[in-house]
């Protein structure tokens, strides 16, 4: 087990009290596995991942829970401890490649900076290595692009640069926060392919955050579905797709168009509004939109359970 999250709660102060962006999240990840974190925007995927690397945006804070990485707790790390984990052990790729690179530094130098500071490689050698990394992430004429500034590159190329930064120190775990959302559809597949190839080559575990069922189905081994800060279902890709247990997962599956499907089901949008995290009902947060909701739903504690440990759901019904 490379990563284990127990009961993670991360909160932000809201106008009427705390907003729990991550609510008792439990996740486990074995090395070499790709976990898809699936959910709508605002479901707590990003915050969960930012909690892992200790970069919860202010004024948010982790309230509770335990995050274990390679058997050691990340909760009680000081800044020096974090320095040894971030970049070297856990790499992170942020959603928007437009803004995740420093606009005033050459991209090559931004990669080389990781090599010199994290691996202690001397500056001149770092430059050659950075160029090699640029080649590896598929950037054409890398020695010329070494001297490019971020704004001179396309979104896809910038994301490749960010990937190069994230894997430069060969981390054990790579967290990719919607790495393709801001990109053209044609580029998306290339970037995801690249991530998977690198994952295999470096032998990393990976968390891939996405709101796209298709992406998760195609590239991940396991899936955790999130809703309103809670993990509502967890299982292998096959389990989730063939045999969804939680009503939210089912509704989500029904709401996406299936180009390959032969049966003509028609699209069923999920009724109601996405949840307001400041005013969640007691019990299951999905209950107001669920067609099978009953009075018992307000007593659900959202802990995961299931017939076998490999496929768990938060809905006891």
């Amino acid at each position: 087990m490379i990563l284990a999250i127990h009961n993670l709660c991360t909160a932000f102060p809201g106008p009427n009290g705390l907003i729990l962006a991550a609510n008792q999240v439990n996740l486990q990840l074995r090395s070499g596995v790709t976990l898809g974190l699936l959910g709508e925007s605002g479901s707590g995927k990003s915050i969960t991942c930012r909690s892992i690397v200790g970069l919860v945006p202010k004024p948010g804070e982790i309230l509770n829970g335990e995050i274990e990485f390679e058997g050691r707790s990340l909760r009680r790390l000081d800044s020096q401890g974090w320095r040894k984990v971030r970049g070297s052990k856990i790499g992170m790729i942020f959603q928007d490649p437009m803004s995740a690179l420093n606009p005033t530094h050459k991209i090559g130098n931004q990669i080389a900076e990781v090599l010199t500071t994290k691996l202690g490689i001397p500056r001149r050698k770092a430059v050659t290595e950075a160029i090699a990394l640029l080649t590896k992430v598929g950037i054409a004429s890398p020695s010329r692009h070494f001297h490019s500034y971020p704004h001179e590159l396309s979104g896809g190329m910038r994301q490749r640069v960010l990937i190069a930064c994230a894997i430069a120190a060969k981390p054990r775990l790579l967290i990719a926060d919607e790495p393709t959302t801001a990109l053209d559809v044609t580029v998306q597949a290339q970037i995801l392919r690249l991530l998977i190839d690198l994952k295999v080559e470096i032998d990393m575990a990976m968390i891939l955050i996405s709101h796209d069922f298709g992406v998760v189905a195609q590239y991940c081994d396991e899936v955790a579905v999130m809703y309103a800060g809670c993990v509502v279902e967890y299982g292998s890709v096959v389990d989730i797709f063939e045999n969804p247990l939680h009503p939210y997962t089912k509704a989500l599956l029904r709401s996406i168009p299936k180009l390959t499907g032969h049966e003509d089901r028609g699209l069923l949008p999920i009724k109601g509004q996405p949840p307001d995290l400041g005013q969640l009902p007691t019990g299951c947060p999905f209950a107001p939109r669920c067609d099978r909701a009953g009075s018992a739903c307000s007593n659900v504690d959202m802990s995961l359970s299931g017939a076998n440990d490999a496929h768990l759901s938060a809905c006891p019904f």
């Binding site: 102060p13 008792q24 309230l63 509770n64 504690d301």
Partner: protein, 295 residues
């Protein structure tokens, strides 16, 4: 939903909430504190003719250089004039002048900036060049030049500041207008076939007011400092009229043995300035703007 929060996490949560509401309370506190300070000092200034213990120019050669005492709260100057009374009259004059030289340029500048931003084209070019030119000459230098032309006195300050002050507001309003004119509600108003002037003044201008208003509070302080500075140089308000800059300048030769003549009026000035800044800070927070000391 049931939260399984430990005792520790509950206290973390409480701290988060407390901090967030403390921020909100701070901005309100800042506004009220500022209003109190400014209100108190202004009230005293307005009532100066009635509450000042001595006259503005009441000379008493038998009690020169009196240090602060119950009889003379802020002491007396080289001609035995009561510094406290002079400060009251001085603030009274300063406030009157400063309000005029702040808000008249605000109106002119907002009008010109709004037009420039809304219409663009040659109107924008002309107004923009005028802004650049006016801003190219340091404020104080321009006032000094005006004084050189028409002679020392308040007129020079009025003309000088009016001639320059509008440029800042025009720049602010123009920048805002460039954004606003692309907004949906303006496009919608155009779609409804409203007249240009109606759109401009009913729909667009009210939205320019916020940033100008917030800046104007900082501008009040800037203008206070400017007026006092010009008067200190002997180019603005002329002695023996009481004005804070004049009072401070009067005391300068006697700095060593009558420190109160310069120091204490300055303190009143600083308090007043802090009061305005607090108002600006609080106001900016409440309006969701940033309180900038410059444009």
């Amino acid at each position: 939903m049931k939260y399984l929060l430990s005792h520790n996490s509950r206290s973390v949560g409480d701290r988060l909430i407390r901090r967030a509401s403390a921020d909100r309370r701070w901005s309100r506190f800042s506004l009220y504190l500022g209003l109190t300070i400014v209100g108190f000092i202004s009230l005293a200034a307005i009532l100066a003719p009635w509450i000042a213990p001595y006259g503005e120019r009441e000379i008493d050669l038998l009690s020169t250089f009196q240090p602060p005492s119950f009889k003379h709260i802020l002491g007396t100057d080289d001609m035995g004039r009561d510094v406290f009374s002079r400060v009251l009259y001085g603030v009274r004059l300063d406030l009157q002048v400063v309000l005029v030289i702040t808000y008249a340029p605000l109106l002119i500048g907002m009008f010109l900036g709004a037009i420039a931003g809304y219409f663009g084209g040659w109107i924008d070019t002309v107004i923009n060049r005028a802004i650049d030119t006016v801003m190219a000459i340091p404020f104080l230098v321009l006032v000094i030049v005006v004084v050189a032309i028409i002679g020392p006195g308040l007129e020079g300050v009025f003309i000088g500041v009016m001639g320059v002050g509008w440029a800042l507001y025009a720049r602010l309003a123009r920048a805002d207008m460039l954004v606003i004119r692309e907004e949906q509600y303006i496009l919608a108003a155009k779609g409804l076939g409203y007249s240009t002037w109606r759109i401009l003044f009913k729909h667009a201008v009210p939205n320019l007011l916020r940033s100008s208003l917030v800046f104007s509070v900082a501008d009040i302080v800037l203008n206070m400092v400017l007026l006092a500075g010009v008067s200190y140089l002997g180019l603005g308000v002329q002695p023996p009229t009481a004005e804070l800059g004049v009072i401070i300048a009067d005391g300068q030769p006697f700095l060593l043995y009558a420190w109160w003549i310069t120091t204490l009026p300055g303190l009143v000035f600083v308090f007043l300035g802090i009061g305005f800044s607090l108002i600006g800070d609080g106001l900016a927070d409440m309006l969701g703007e940033e309180f900038k000391l410059t444009v």
